[in-house]
Symmetry: C2
Subunit: 318 residues, 2 copies
Amino acid sequence: MNISKEAIEKAAATIKPYIHHTPVMTNKSIDELSGIHFYFKCENFQKIGAFKIRGGMNATLSLSPDQLKNGVATHSSGNHAQALAYAAKVLGIKAYIVMPKSSPKVKVDAVRGYGAEVIICEANQAAREAALEEVVARTGAAFIHPYDDDRVITGQATCVKELIEEVPDLDIVITPVGGGGLLSGTCLGAHYFKPGLKVYGGEPEGAADAVLSIKSGKVEKAPFIDTIADGLMTTLSERTLAIIKAHVTDILLVSDEEIKAALKLVYERMKIIVEPSCVVPFAAALRNPELFKGKKVGIILSGGNVDLTKFGNWFPAN
Amino acid sequence: MNISKEAIEKAAATIKPYIHHTPVMTNKSIDELSGIHFYFKCENFQKIGAFKIRGGMNATLSLSPDQLKNGVATHSSGNHAQALAYAAKVLGIKAYIVMPKSSPKVKVDAVRGYGAEVIICEANQAAREAALEEVVARTGAAFIHPYDDDRVITGQATCVKELIEEVPDLDIVITPVGGGGLLSGTCLGAHYFKPGLKVYGGEPEGAADAVLSIKSGKVEKAPFIDTIADGLMTTLSERTLAIIKAHVTDILLVSDEEIKAALKLVYERMKIIVEPSCVVPFAAALRNPELFKGKKVGIILSGGNVDLTKFGNWFPAN
């Protein structure tokens, strides 16, 4: 394994001045109705509204002064784009973000709002990679992948480290799994800082690549992509798969109906705004009481950047 | 004045085991865009999802053992109904709640969920009062008015007391104003615990009774009722008007468009769920920068009990 305990400790100290120490919330009524003791690590209250700032900030701070002066670049339509844009802003460097032209205007505006240069491309993988290559060649910016990057994974690992420090007797932690940056980081954090802490991944049935990849041992594509959890549509990389395979207890699937029910519960009982993607682990715990009943279960609520106009579709009036 | 400093201190101690000490949140991006230092007292995270538990619990705990055994009664379709139902549940007594048949099913279910007996009546004031009289005659339950009651006002005053303890150098506090229970309690709390702290009320243009009542000196009806802030449609009582008149700096009006914009800001930047009624003070501050710029302004975010199906109307898709 390339990522050491010391690397995660160093990342935690390095990014500390730039991020929030997010609160851990509990909720009596949710515990009563589920029979599970939940500890929600609220990364929706994190800088840029998501845990992604941890990896983005750590990767950017890992660059040499020479690399830093050319800025950073990535392709992303999601929270990683905002993370890099924010990191670049606070460090006074340039960020170049390739975004597909299908990206919601609100996300493009948010990235531009941090002062990043947005390069709009066609909405397919080849066009994204071509646009990124072009901008890197033009500017010399350092490419920082959303999850297939040790520095990013190391940053994401700091989240479970904080959770363990706050809830030392935690039994289990569950994270969402998309590209696997958060899940692999959480696997490593658990391994180093609380050996024996079980780690599960929660995955939508409509983007079920990780569960297949763990089974076959190689990176698989999802059989189909159709889910409300729009942050979890990407596939694992060799790098994230290797770490997850070595440490994860299991990947649990949930349906979109279960995601919506979990979302409603969080909104109604906890009064906080979270993304559909981010309640997938919570939905997974509710679906599998035999695994979690009576246990102290940490849920990483990964983000809160939602398009408010979607609420009408998530919670339709009768 | 009938409500003493000692009464508020006693209420704070009495209700403490039954309520949450709610957090005070700040938000850098909202402060930057407004030029105001906001301190949000998050009563949306309070027991039953609203500050009303403070008054409801204090009034119930003020009853003698003889009164307690017959239970409590009120008419309310809102958070006071849940507050009394919850207070009765934890104290092991009966609660009788008269609710108009226009009440949303989700609210009736919530009250029943706490074990209260719900009496459904026609949706007019005369029917509500008749139904209440009938249930009090039948059961001997103690009637606890939602706001026209010293014990309730005393309980609501404990909220600003906590806020002052946490932010001792606060310049101003703003609350919503409906029947005036929270605003009158806040006036008294400020008067006793931080003399000189300015108190404003925020009121919707579509339920503008308090602003008229302060002007004329007697309880006035709103010229018309039409607002998204459905918790603020009631008029002041003689009791709440007298306290507010003696202490308030001003009542500030806001439009529904301003309420929706403030709601969007809280949802997007703070990632918390609040009721439209509860952002009225925040909207009032944003509308009147000349009064608040550079000041430390406390906002009592009064509650978070929203009907999720309404989101589609609040934040319509383009």
